[in-house]
């Protein structure tokens, strides 16, 4: 199986007039073809920043450092132009907010056609014009994401579609581009359950047919476990636990992971209060475990040194409880 993404100790720091803000503090992971990695974390965990870093969409005031940052056998650290080459059928990203994904003044057709043009350019080296793209082909893609009345929808404007429909259009774009790496940032949060299932099915299809690697970002560990082959739990800009989904769900090792799983509402209605992880995310320095303020098992060494991400049995865990 080819490796599509290889990162070692990736850091992303935002420079602001009020000081520097570290968003990602040292993330290492590898992604293979046909693999879906679920990245789970709450807001502020750095999961979206991680995705933007891989997509090359970080704002100008972001500094990226890493020991290794290889995307599809290209060194992302060598020059910013690497990302220009990769975008489209190399790396594609679906954003969280559907309404900010499309230009309000252009039709759906034109924007889908742009993706089509990119695909043709990158796969066959041929440049076609936006106007030359065959509408019928675009309609086929809309049908695959179950958009009703695709011929009519094709010529509509974004504000005339619902959030769910726009998100499906973005998935259709992904289907057109057939990217090797797909970054999906909470792609189903705004959707109803039935549409959610459909979107997930289409994503699975990409993986099966094109061998796409997907990084599926969500705050919902249940969703991540439903779709992901592997799970990566992030907190405070660092990976807390990484392993095969089955293993992690059945036997969560990190206290944070345990808390996340425990707070999934269970089927029974009679068990009293919902479980929760007490407290909220508070930024910490790098000489202590970021989860220490909220950890039910916190000890002295948790406040004095940051645990390393260590291999423990069948996964990686960052916690003093394990060595």
């Amino acid at each position: 199986m080819g490796v599509t993404l290889s990162i070692e100790d990736l850091q992303v720091i935002y420079k602001t007039p009020d000081g520097t803000i570290p968003a990602v503090r040292g993330v290492s992971l590898e992604l293979s073809e046909s693999e879906i990695l679920g990245v789970v974390g709450e807001s502020g965990s750095g999961k979206s920043t991680l995705a933007f870093a891989i997509a090359g969409l970080l704002p100008k005031n972001a500094i990226v450092k890493a020991r290794k940052f290889i995307i599809l056998n290209n060194d992302a650290l060598s020059s910013p132009n690497v990302f220009n080459k990769l975008r489209g059928s190399g790396v594609f990203m679906v954003f969280q907010d559907p309404f900010s994904s499309l230009n309000p003044l252009l039709t759906i057709r034109d924007q889908l056609a742009e993706a089509y043009v990119t695909k043709v350019k990158q796969s066959k080296g041929v440049k076609v014009g936006i106007g030359d793209v065959d509408d019928e082909e675009l309609v086929e893609y809309l049908k695959r994401v179950n958009i009703p009345d695709p011929q009519i929808t094709l010529y509509k404007y974004p504000h005339q579609l619902s959030g769910g429909q726009i998100q499906r259009v973005m998935i259709a774009m992904a289907l057109i581009l057939e990217p090797r790496i797909l970054l999906a940032d909470e792609p189903t949060t705004a959707l109803d359950v039935l549409t959610q299932i459909q979107v997930l099915q289409e994503l699975k299809r990409l993986v099966d047919e094109i061998k796409t690697s997907i990084i599926f970002i969500t705050h919902d560990i249940a969703l991540a476990s439903a779709i992901g082959d592997r799970l990566a739990v992030m907190y405070g800009g660092l990976l807390m636990e990484v392993g095969n989904t089955e293993d992690v769900i059945r036997e969560p090792m990190h206290p944070y992971t345990q808390g996340l799983i425990a707070s999934i509402p269970s089927k029974s209605k009679y068990e009293g209060l919902l479980n929760e992880i007490k407290g909220i995310y508070v930024p910490t320095n790098l000489n202590e475990c970021p989860f220490a303020p909220r950890c039910p098992y916190v000890r002295d060494d948790c406040k004095n040194s940051l645990p390393e991400l260590r291999r423990v049995s069948n996964r990686f865990v960052r916690c003093h409880l394990y060595g």
Partner: protein
């Protein structure tokens, strides 16, 4: 709210503003003016003339009666008789207004082009030399007195370089076209009067350019800042993500979204240009509405001053209305509801 609701809403608003302008000029010229009869009759008017004026403009009637007559005449474009030009004011306006309109039209096209391209250029080269140069240019444009811009252009391009004529609307030795539409250039075109047509075009350039020079700054500024915003927008990021080329991103995605505030601004620019034309026309001896207003003012020709002002006010309101409609046409969110 469909586009029709929006348009009707704007039209009603425009009409109310026009009424307001007429009433405002009425208050100034009939209520607040010390001794309206003298002002309307013009200086050196014989007592018999003043009596005639009082009867003509109903100045001895109660205010609401005066207002009624004033409104009716204004809405039928009857602005009285000019003591200086010895003609009905509406005739004067009919002659001189189109000349100014054609000047302003050319000037606005120039302003739009210069403003949008310098603004896009500045956005593209943000914080580098290109950006700073543009900023300096627009600062000078904003602060430049109209007469200085006109004089400098006249001095360097017409007198020193000699490429363009320094003043007048056209070569005075040429035969002028008949009055068909009132726009001299268009009338010449209709008549097939080519010498006059080309001459009038050449004579339009410097005055129009002067007007554009003092107005483009604000378009540059708004284009630059809305381009910068548009380039940061999420949908631009999304477009980048699907591999759209930089050229298309700047000139299709970003620019289209930046046009919306520019359109609104063009209505404001129209208003400035009318004010500017008062001065520019004087310097270039371009006999349009601005020149008419200035001459009337100088010679205490009050009916003409009021008539011109009302027409100018209406023109500005209409320009704003057209901008509102254009805005709706460009932004599909309003067009399709």
């Amino acid at each position: 709210m469909s586009i029709w609701t929006y348009v009707i809403n704007r039209a009603v608003r425009a009409f109310l503003l026009i009424l307001g302008i007429i009433v405002l000029t009425f208050i100034l010229s009939h209520v607040l003016a010390p001794n309206p009869a003298y002002v309307w009759a013009g200086p050196h008017a014989a007592p018999s003339v003043i009596q005639a004026i009082i009867r003509e403009y109903h100045l001895d009637q109660p205010i609401y009666v005066q207002l009624y007559y004033y409104l009716v005449s204004a809405l039928t474009f009857n602005f009285g008789f000019s003591p200086y030009f010895k003609q009905p004011v509406s005739e004067l306006i009919a002659i001189y207004l189109p000349r100014t309109l054609q000047l302003i039209f050319v000037a606005m096209v120039l302003t739009g082009l210069i403003g949008v391209f310098t603004g896009a250029f500045a956005a593209e080269h943000k914080d580098k030399w290109g950006d700073y140069t543009v900023k300096a240019l627009y600062l000078i444009s904003w602060c430049m007195p109209p007469f200085l811009a006109a004089l400098l252009l006249q001095l360097f391009i017409a007198y020193y370089w000699g490429v363009l004529p320094p003043n007048l609307m056209a070569d005075p030795t040429l035969a002028a076209p008949r009055y068909i539409t009132g726009f001299p250039t268009i009338d010449a075109l209709i008549e097939g009067n080519w010498p006059y047509f080309w001459s009038s075009l050449k004579h339009l350039i410097l005055p129009a350019f002067s007007l554009a020079l003092i107005s483009f700054g604000v378009i540059t500024r708004i284009t630059r800042s809305s381009m910068l915003t548009a380039l940061q927008a999420d949908y631009v990021r999304a477009a980048v993500m699907r591999g759209v080329e930089k050229g298309r991103i700047v000139y299709v995605h970003a620019l289209k979204n930046s046009m919306i505030p520019v359109i609104t601004l063009l209505a404001l620019v129209f208003s400035w240009m009318i004010s500017g034309s008062v001065i520019i026309e004087t310097i270039f001896s371009y006999n349009g509405l601005g020149w008419l207003l200035t001459t009337a003012l100088y010679n205490y020709d009050y009916p003409t001053v009021i008539g011109c002002s009302v027409v100018i006010g209406i023109a500005v309101v209409l320009a704003n209305f057209i901008a509102d409609v254009l805005y709706a046409v460009i932004d599909p969110r309003i067009k399709l509801g």
